[in-house]
């Protein structure tokens, strides 16, 4: 398209042709008189962590109103799962929150297991806990790196991604994939841990504390970091709760709510760990909550590693829901029948509804699942933390500068795939 100079000097390609009346009610009346300025941030802005567009109403450099616009990554994952059998649905959930796919798997698997009343052997639960905590570390590493680079601390990104790579290598050992492994399946996990997994995890747990200490030394008392984050994006606990915030964003305001502790699933009740809490509800406290969570994750991993036996059941042996091991197929006609049934039509679930929630690195992922009586769900709905956090972005940003918006977006740790689904 040729760029034509318009009388006002703005190139035609950049001229906005929308109707400003559409914005009435979203921005203040001052925007219509030209007293305040409207500015689009995103969807291609690097510090919006994906494709988030925020329409900003600015008074000078101060934010009067922020109107988030999402949906650029909407891929109809819930609709897709409605036409998949329960086991196949797991692969779609991976693609929602692409920085912690295993948390999504967990929410979906918990819901399916609740719907069909399927038990998971303790060892499989233990493997799941190890994976979830590794995933939390990997996700927090991306958060730390991108949050820091948004505020100008360049080197942290490189260090953080170095550690994340080690975690992803371990997840690859288990599932064959670095990110979208679909490792959790209804009834357990896809396959047993490999022989090199445990030594690698031991080695990682030996190295990782030093790395976290490094990050803390780089940022915790760094005067620029403290100036940019303390007192910015404050949200009071009451408002955070009313707006549906969860996870470290809620705990940064001092609300002691962690599903792993308060409503344990997958055997989290057997682990000793504490829930780090903030006090002021600002960007710095949310940052500290996540950093301290890394230490708690390590504690859980140490305990889990001690209990993890090299061999044992890794998924339920209820053949109505879980396919038989390959080795049985040669000897057992029953096994062949189960294998065929499960991989062609899957299993049936009752025409009932369940809700399961897990604590992902970002907050509470809720999975609402409604069966039909057949082999596919009637409705799957994921309540994702990023969706709730972006909806409360206007509260967090009001009165701050644009540069603080970047800090705030980083501190609530949004993933747009998680938001848009």
């Amino acid at each position: 398209m040729a760029v034509v100079e318009t009388p006002t000097g703005a190139p035609e390609a950049y001229r906005w042709e929308g109707n400003i009346e559409e914005l009435r009610g979203l921005v203040s009346e001052r925007a219509f008189t030209g007293e305040t300025m409207l500015l689009n941030m995103g969807p291609h802005h690097p510090s919006t962590h994906g494709v988030l567009r925020v329409l900003l109403e600015l008074d000078g450099e101060q934010i009067v109103n922020a109107v988030p616009d999402v949906g650029f990554l909407h891929t109809g994952i819930e609709k897709t799962i409605e036409s998949k059998t329960y086991e196949k649905g797991v692969t779609a959930t991976d693609r929602m929150d692409y920085l912690s796919p295993l948390s999504n798997n967990m929410a979906f698997c918990l819901a399916v297991e609740k719907l069909v009343d399927l038990d998971v052997p303790p060892r499989a639960q233990l493997i799941r806990v190890i994976c979830l905590e590794l995933q939390r570390i990997a996700s927090h590493m991306v958060w730390l790196g991108t949050h820091a680079i948004d505020l100008g601390a360049m080197s942290v990104l490189l260090y953080a991604f170095r550690e994340r790579e080690k975690v992803l290598d371990m997840l690859e050992m288990l599932s064959g994939q670095r990110m979208m492994g679909s490792y959790f399946r209804p009834g357990g996990v896809w396959r047993d841990i490999t022989s090199d997994f445990k030594p690698t995890l031991v080695k990682f747990l030996g190295e990782f504390p030093r790395a976290v200490e490094d990050y803390q030394r780089l940022l915790e008392k760094n005067p620029i970091w403290v100036d940019r984050t303390q007192g910015v994006g404050v949200i009071e606990p009451e408002r955070a709760l009313a707006w549906g915030m969860t996870g470290p964003a809620l705990r940064g305001s001092g609300v002691n709510w962690d599903l792993r502790k308060s409503m344990p699933y997958s055997g989290y009740e057997d682990f000793a760990f504490t829930v780090p809490l903030g006090e002021h509800g600002d960007v710095y406290d949310r940052f500290m909550c996540r950093i301290l969570e890394l230490w708690e994750s390590m504690k859980i991993l140490h305990q889990a590693l001690e209990r993890l036996e090299d061999r044992g059941p890794f998924r339920s042996d209820d053949r109505k829901f879980v396919p038989p091991p390959r080795s049985e197929l040669g000897q057992s006609m029953e096994a062949v029948i189960h294998h065929f049934k499960l991989w062609t039509s899957g299993f049936d679930a009752p025409d009932e509804e369940v809700f399961a929630a897990v604590e992902s690195p970002r907050g509470e992922i809720g999975c609402y699942l409604h069966g039909t009586g057949g082999n596919m769900p009637r409705r799957v709905h994921f309540k994702t933390p990023s969706f709730m956090h972006i909806s409360s972005l206007p509260l967090l940003t009001q009165g701050h500068f644009i540069a603080d918006l970047v800090a705030i977006i980083g501190s609530v740790d949004i993933v747009l795939g998680d938001c848009d689904r």
Binding site: L115, W243, M245, E352, E353, R379, H381, M388
Partner: protein, 179 residues
């Protein structure tokens, strides 16, 4: 530490306080569902939030479900409010049924402002309007989109595979987003 009232059964408490608001209660696995009339759902939720012994202070989720084509429920659509009591560590589902020809429900934003986007999502994907909602626009789909994709009668949609001999022909009919 202030005294905490012992937990009460939500269905009993609601039955005692608002007898006409409880149509049915239903248990499955370890979950309780209270079915209430749409007109009273806001009052019921406020009651559940503010009553000692219940204190369902947190709105976890609002989901909508479409019972087409079986239509074996009172109405075509169901809306589930998933409440969470952080004090007692338990969940509750409050459910309403909404008719197809008048797909509308009262907004929950006066009780929990966080319901704002959850209701927008339901409007966007399921086509149920929320009366009194401050900002009833689409949230995930483009503003000029036709239809509501999460309804069960909305086709999943497939793309024709393009080969070199028919690539241009198929390209002509592709429904790209309108500018």
């Amino acid at each position: 530490m202030p005294d905490i009232a012992p937990p009460r059964d939500a269905a009993d408490a609601l039955q005692a306080a608002m007898p006409d608001a409880l149509l049915d209660s239903h248990g499955f696995r370890d979950e309780t569902t209270l079915i209430v009339p749409p007109a009273q759902v806001v009052d019921v939720c406020r009651f559940l939030r503010d009553t000692p012994g219940l204190v369902f202070n947190f709105l976890s989720d609002i989901s909508a479900v479409d019972y087409w084509p079986e239509l074996d429920r009172p109405e075509r659509f169901g809306i589930c409010y998933h409440l969470l009591s952080m004090l007692y560590g338990r969940r509750l589902r409050v459910k309403i049924f909404v008719a197809e020809d008048k797909a509308e429900a009262p907004t929950m934003t006066s009780v929990w402002p966080g319901a704002n986007w959850l209701e927008r999502e339901i409007f966007d994907l399921m086509g149920i309007r929320f009366s009194g909602h401050p900002d009833m626009r689409r949230v995930l789909m483009p503003a000029d989109w036709d239809g509501h994709p999460h309804r069960r009668d909305y086709p999943l949609g497939y793309e024709q595979v393009q080969f070199s001999f028919n690539a241009e022909e198929i390209m002509k009919h592709k429904p790209f987003a309108k500018e």
